[in-house]
Symmetry: C2
Subunit: 304 residues, 2 copies
């Protein structure tokens, strides 16, 4: 049986894949360029296959090389986890935890969440990162993040998830408009193009439309906002109505406005909130405890 590749060489390969440049990758690994170069050659020899196509000046990862990178990532991160685990004397709630959250959830949970985690697991080092669903999924794949807090349904690619709970949508309008619209909401009473939503990079626009059965309605305004807070300001300026998730209202996003929240049409006008992680992780237990903490903060907790 041939010898296993060394973790060192695998980490060289990962750095090279990330930097796409031998010098920068070598610097990243704190070794000389020649060391990294021969490390890669060594690896190719051991694996008995071509990982990168040399182009005399530059290079390109082969298809096989890309796949080896994927697998190497899992091995390296499992090894890092083993190291942390052992150094923490087996305490799984210790060390860094890199959590990615989408912008329509983050501001309404991170305060309470980090406070609670800090209390219960003082050695856990929560590192938050706010980004769009697509970017977060990419960074999860990279190994740059450990878990993601997303709104579902969503294509989570090869990953696994727990559904933590549900977050109802409310139609938010100026109080002077509330009576005209009624409750539950009758969209026909709203002027055309008077519903404002987030730009489509945010999944919330789609979720709200689907959950509230508003597909292709002429009621939607083509102008889109980039944050829930902007939407609230637009509604407060009587430009129209909008959908705001319950968790934002619970955190007083409507304070100091003249807005009211109405229950939209549709039995279950809500989005699901889920925690997403790589199927190859070996930190399920850690993630699970975090999942429980997050679920307790949601308007409707559906975690087992």
């Amino acid at each position: 049986m041939s010898k296993l590749p060394s973790l060192k060489n695998l980490s060289y390969l990962l750095a090279l894949h990330q930097e796409q440049n031998f010098n920068r990758a070598a610097a990243e690994c704190n070794v000389s360029q020649s060391t990294l170069s021969s490390g890669i050659q060594n690896l190719e020899e051991q694996l008995n296959c071509q990982l990168i196509e040399r182009d005399h000046k530059s290079f390109l990862f082969t298809a096989l090389g890309e796949e080896v990178v994927e697998k190497a990532r899992d091995i390296i991160s499992a090894s890092e986890e083993l190291l942390h685990y052992a150094q923490g004397q087996g305490n799984i709630m210790e060390g860094p935890l890199r959590l990615g959250i989408i912008p329509t959830i983050a501001p309404f949970v991170i305060g309470e969440l980090s406070k609670n985690l800090q209390n219960k697991f003082p050695k856990l080092l929560l590192q938050l990162s706010e980004d769009t669903t697509q970017n977060l999924l990419h960074r999860l794949r990279n190994g740059e993040l450990d878990i993601l807090l997303l709104a579902l349904p969503m294509d989570i690619q090869g990953n696994q998830k727990w559904v933590l709970g549900r977050d109802p949508f409310k139609l938010v309008v100026h109080k002077e408009l509330a009576e005209t619209v009624g409750e539950p909401v009758d969209y026909d009473k709203l002027p055309d193009r008077s519903i404002f939503l987030l730009e489509k990079e945010h999944c919330m626009a789609g979720h709200a439309v689907a959950a509230c059965q508003l597909t292709d309605s002429i009621k939607m305004n083509p102008f889109t906002a980039t944050s829930l807070h902007s939407l609230v300001q637009m509604a407060d300026a009587r430009l129209g109505a909008t959908f705001i998730p319950q968790m934002a209202i619970d955190r007083d996003i409507l304070e100091n406005t003249d807005l009211v929240a109405l229950k939209p049409t549709g039995q279950e006008a809500s989005r699901d909130i889920g925690l997403v992680y790589r199927p190859t992780t070996s930190r399920r237990q850690t993630f699970r405890k975090v999942a429980e903490e997050i679920a307790r903060l949601l308007p409707i907790n559906t975690l087992n």
Copy 2:
């Protein structure tokens, strides 16, 4: 950041855990005893924790050591998989696949299965192993086996599963008894203590009792058999009736007997057949293709 442990030292630890003896473990790894000894010490230093308690003469793995062994196993096997994968130029249906099957399934699928896999994936090296559910689960944990074909429901511990299909139970009686019993079966027409089952090491006894709603019936005979073929012989000798899964009947287990198969009472008198694997595996795609092949051989295929 501290240095990652080397795969070599991790494999020394695994060998030591398996052999529980430095000399044998060293032989296993093809290194000297001193090398293995210092490898372990080295590892403890790097991980900054005690993995084994030295007792001046012998030793014992600490709780933390046991857990590190678990995690190390995953890392080593992921590395071996990477090696195989790369050496096979990325062909996931290549190299050894160690499949464990329980005795009440094995004889009725392995013939067709190995033939079909051989045709479709000639480079796949299927290594079969027949054992009880409990032993198989233990060997899966060990890394001694890759996947298990089991009857469900069953506590599969921390593992993951796919349900491949369903296998109905039939009540098998001598043809001279068939008319008395009727169809669907009226158990009251059977004499007391006339139903024979497998010994309780086999999960099938429990599954049959549950599926056919026979709990604690006085109809059961306390004498138990060790194989389905014995049960068939006993029924053929008019000692009583028994339950036989459809897949066995499909493979002509009743040939050259005077037995008939009757539909038992109960809407869904059947067992589920599932494929079980470690959650940390990185060979899901390979396993999935095997799952599809197995599902095609079952009486009722329920795999997506």
